[in-house]
Symmetry: C2
Subunit: 234 residues, 2 copies
DNA sequence: CGAGGACAAATTGTTCAACAATCCACCGGG
DNA sequence: CCCGGTGGATTGTTGAACAATTTGTCCTCG
């Protein structure tokens, strides 16, 4: 959702000297709003990994001042979605092979920790079941985007069970960077297909109450995904 | 290191009209530098939980403009050290009981995950041994600040073994918020003393290669600390 | 004497214009 | 073909301005 592109015609900028009535009505927080816009642009691939974030261009496109845009940059940089090089400006993070290893080491801890200690009760398992079903349907239909989305939702739901907003936020940052990795992989012919099946096995272990088995399956799944990605990115 | 206080006399501000030569030579990134300053001020308690962060006062004190200061606010807000209320400005985060629970749920996952999957080889264990020794010495001497510092270093070192920069960064954010919690606890008569002993037991289990036992001890230690804090904060 | 409301002062959110420092792309010389 | 200069573009940062909102004060009324 949220069609990319830009062309959000400049709101303020009537031209006068100082303030000059920016006509802004209720924008709660322009910088946070801009960070949201940029985040989804990056997620959608409208801003590819490595892309330069020109302050002039983006401030014009988003209809905000350079200063406000820079605040948004600071937020995104704190999430590791944007890299700021001194005197060179902001760039969409372009994950290295080492970043991929880092990411999967983090996910291993987050996801297995959530399985071991989280509250994976009825409702949570029900949500996982629904997600797995959607994933398998998407595999059937060969719908790669839905597959990828369901896969991310599955792993996010697991971490959510850990019961920590901070940890879930970290997982969201990790998944956002995963999307960056996927964008960097030129082609991914059915990358996620195999993992839908693996996820259903993890779910089965959880339904059987066998957390140790679920951890084992999860670890294998993450290792396999990491190695498959590293083989393609190098 | 880095004595707190402020009173860093304003650098620029010669008063002229526009630019007016701020005499700034090589400040790599003023906003990041300011964020560092504020972070240590918060860690040291120079800015207490709940304190209002006046833009005018702080920009003067740090010798930077309001816009640059706001960029620093954006960074600290992304770390959950500062809360920004719309039209009310920035405040040092004042952790609630729920935040404490959240924090310990996160730490449980991070630390036990690192013990289970991390590379706790010779060097890492050696560092832990050194930290535990320092902690025990501090307990002997009744030196609370050193005790607290060693305790944080111990848990940080464990998470470092997970081999993920992102996860370690998350741990650093968590520890920064822990410091906020400790500041909020009016008095803590030898809070950390007992945990130095617990840490040495965790270390012993690791030296014996018994990771499962280390995880168990760690979990108990974290639960105990959480409950002790919750009993005092309510 | 306390509740409520009008008004003034302070503060935040945001923009604009300016300028120093730095980087980048181009171009001519060796 | 490589190399160093040169000028334009871009970033980093500042100061001033102003609308919207919050906060504080004081005055009135019940």
């Amino acid at each position: 959702m949220n069609g990319a592109a830009g062309a959000h015609e400049g709101v303020g900028g009537t031209g006068g000297k100082g303030g000059s009535a920016p006509a802004h009505s209720g924008a709660v927080q322009a910088s946070a709003h801009a960070a949201d816009r940029l985040r989804t642009m990056i997620a959608d691939g409208a801003l590819a990994p490595g892309a330069k974030l020109s302050e002039q261009a983006l401030s014009g496109e988003l209809g905000i001042s350079r200063n406000t845009l820079r605040e948004a940059f600071a937020m995104l940089a704190a999430e590791n979605l944007v890299a700021r090089l001194p005197n060179r400006g902001g760039f969409v993070t372009d994950p290295t092979a080492d970043d991929v290893r880092d990411l999967y080491a983090a996910r291993l801890v987050l996801e297995t920790g959530a399985v071991l200690w989280g509250e994976l009760d009825g409702p949570a398992v029900a949500r996982l079941r629904e997600i797995v079903a959607a994933a398998l349907t998407a595999v059937e239909a060969g719908d790669a985007p839905t597959m990828a989305d369901a896969n991310q939702r599955f792993h996010r739901e697991i971490v959510a069970a850990a019961g920590s907003r901070a940890l879930l936020a970290e997982m969201d940052r990790a998944l956002a960077r995963m999307r960056l990795v996927f964008h960097a992989m030129t082609d991914e012919p059915g990358f996620h297909a195999g993992y839908a099946h693996r996820n259903s096995e993890v779910l089965a272990a959880l339904e059987a109450g066998d957390r140790a088995r679920a951890v084992e399956l999860l670890r294998d799944s993450l290792s396999a995904a990491r190695d498959e990605i590293l083989a393609r990115v190098g």
